[in-house]
Symmetry: C2
């Protein structure tokens, strides 16, 4: 591709000895032309430096090869990892992923969906803000663009939903904690930012009940997505006001737990299940940093890989059934207990 610069498809078609319409077909789908033709085009592609003008391509196409990927908060490594995996899959399938972060703000999410619409994407993978999502806005968007929702559940929106089975996730860790020591107090934010948090809380209640234990919920204050900070402050406040109902705390998510563990440290409370430890702290998510807390955090791993892979697959499936008439699918993956030293 070192050769001279080619202006447009017309010129490139001449150079490769193939007609422009056929070259056009090739770029839309390399498999749609004969092998020998494809070879000739690809050889010319090596010789000359030509790439079709994206804007001219997409202007006349009803749909582009773009795929929008929208996450609520990209500074959270959890979403960064998922986005990365999704990106890879889309590229491998010949699509062009475009990554957006809502930064936790409703207005931002709406704005992203609006501009996404004018990009005529083939489809969109959306992890909505959840509680703070503008449901009507999201629904209107999904009516026009094939969309698969993941991570955060919104009822009856989009072509599919892929996420974790939070009831199972919570049951797993509650079981473990009860089996191995005192039953857990549940540590969560007062203002739940997404429906997953709700499901987890309900899962906790159900799991405790089925084990004949008395649930105990500690709601902490704080707003936004700075969960570690919120967990830290909530933890300090809890410890200062006399500690927890039992010696075991289950946090709504790892980031909160990271904050709580730091809070315990700062107050001289030793976390862990070894001798001399007076507090067990468990999280949920298996956040990338959770293995580096002190002590390393016991948590439940969400099935990152399956969630992102399946989301992409579901989107592709939805793109096939042009009609979009297929029934809405909901796929939930189970979590896996990751036993480390904090609980």
């Amino acid at each position: 591709m070192a050769g001279k610069r080619v202006r447009n498809m017309e010129e490139f078609a001449e150079l490769s000895g193939i007609s422009r319409p056929t070259v056009s077909k090739y770029f839309n789908n390399p498999d749609s032309v004969r092998k020998t033709t494809r070879a000739r085009i690809e050889q010319a592609l090596e010789e000359y430096d030509y790439r079709p003008n994206i804007y001219a391509m997409n202007q006349n196409r009803r749909l582009t090869k773009n795929i929008g990927v929208v996450v609520p908060y990209l500074a959270d490594p959890f979403f960064a990892e998922i986005a990365r995996n999704i990106e890879r899959r889309c590229i491998d399938a010949g699509y062009f992923p475009l990554l957006f972060s809502s930064h936790g703000e409703t207005a931002q999410e709406n704005a992203i969906l609006d501009s996404l619409r004018s990009l005529k994407p083939a489809g969109v993978l959306l992890a909505p803000l959840g509680r703070r999502s503008d449901m009507d806005h999201v629904r209107r968007f999904c009516d026009e663009v094939p969309t698969v929702l993941f991570d955060s559940y919104l009822a009856d929106v989009g072509a599919a939903f892929v996420g974790s089975d939070h009831a199972q996730v919570v049951r797993l860790i509650v079981d473990y904690l009860c089996r191995s020591g005192e039953p857990p107090v549940y540590f969560e934010m007062r203002n739940l930012v997404n429906p997953n948090a709700n499901r987890r809380r309900n899962g906790y209640l159900a799991a405790m009940e089925s084990l004949g234990q008395t649930p105990e919920i500690l709601k902490i204050d704080g707003d936004g997505w700075n969960f570690e900070e919120i967990g830290f402050r909530g933890g300090v406040a809890a410890i200062e006001s006399g500690g927890f109902a039992t010696n075991t705390v289950l946090c709504n998510n790892d980031r909160l737990a990271i904050g709580l563990i730091a809070a315990a440290w700062s107050k001289g409370v030793r976390v862990g299940r070894g001798p001399g430890c007076t507090l067990r702290v468990a999280g949920m998510d298996d956040h990338p940093f959770s293995q580096f807390t002190c002590p390393p955090m016991t948590t439940i791993a969400q099935d990152y890989a399956n969630i992102s892979d399946t989301s992409v697959e579901q989107l592709f499936a939805a793109l096939e059934n042009d009609a979009g008439s297929a029934d809405r699918v909901e796929i939930l993956y189970e979590g896996r207990l990751v036993m480390r030293d904090s609980a």
Copy 2:
């Protein structure tokens, strides 16, 4: 904007009672039309649901309003935060930021630059991989597209470079560590992934020398961007083979330090500067998670805000001087000592 859907600018122009060329002017720059005209257009915009076709707009424009933002590793909250800030600034200035992550891979960085070129961006903000960047590729790109580099220094490439003054950063923390206890051993990866690491190491050498101390460098193995993991393993290995030359370790960056602190914990070595502590660990960057390590990490804060703001400003400045003939600028920001409890 609830009204009926408008097909194209022609139709919208009719509805607003303004000629199409003028409407076109408006969309390219709302200030380029008379206030009264602008008002009429914007009123029509409220009434009808119209947005110009992006693809048709950009097809004939030499440059678009797109701004490419490329970072080496988006799963690192440091870059996620910078990207977020940059995004905000671009949007406020009427541009459309497009975010890409090289995921630590040369091929990926090259691919991003290639597709970026065909997006005809007005400009690009690039934090290159550094050592693993394909210099020729980057240089060719910068010759065609106005580009500001940030974070990772590449010599003589792009319209400007904005980053940290690593020499100063290291001097600051070395000074502090020497003043407050034993001089630091320097903890870094054997395969330096970017030139900043080099500068920091040299900064360490210089600072130690100027203080009349003997520098001591510990190189650890590991490849890729999973720094915490690498720091952890390196830490465990170092401790098992007899510990460090002094009781103080300065890590090349916070993520390595996070791993080292976890390693110390796992080996029963108490980190901090209080009584009973046998190891001091300091990092550099003030990574978002560093305040939640146990103990909280002493580190040097990079000037996130200034670096991202200035990068954007420099890019806009470069866009003004169409010619691109202006001299290449290099702007370095100083770090700030963040004293916490780990050192």
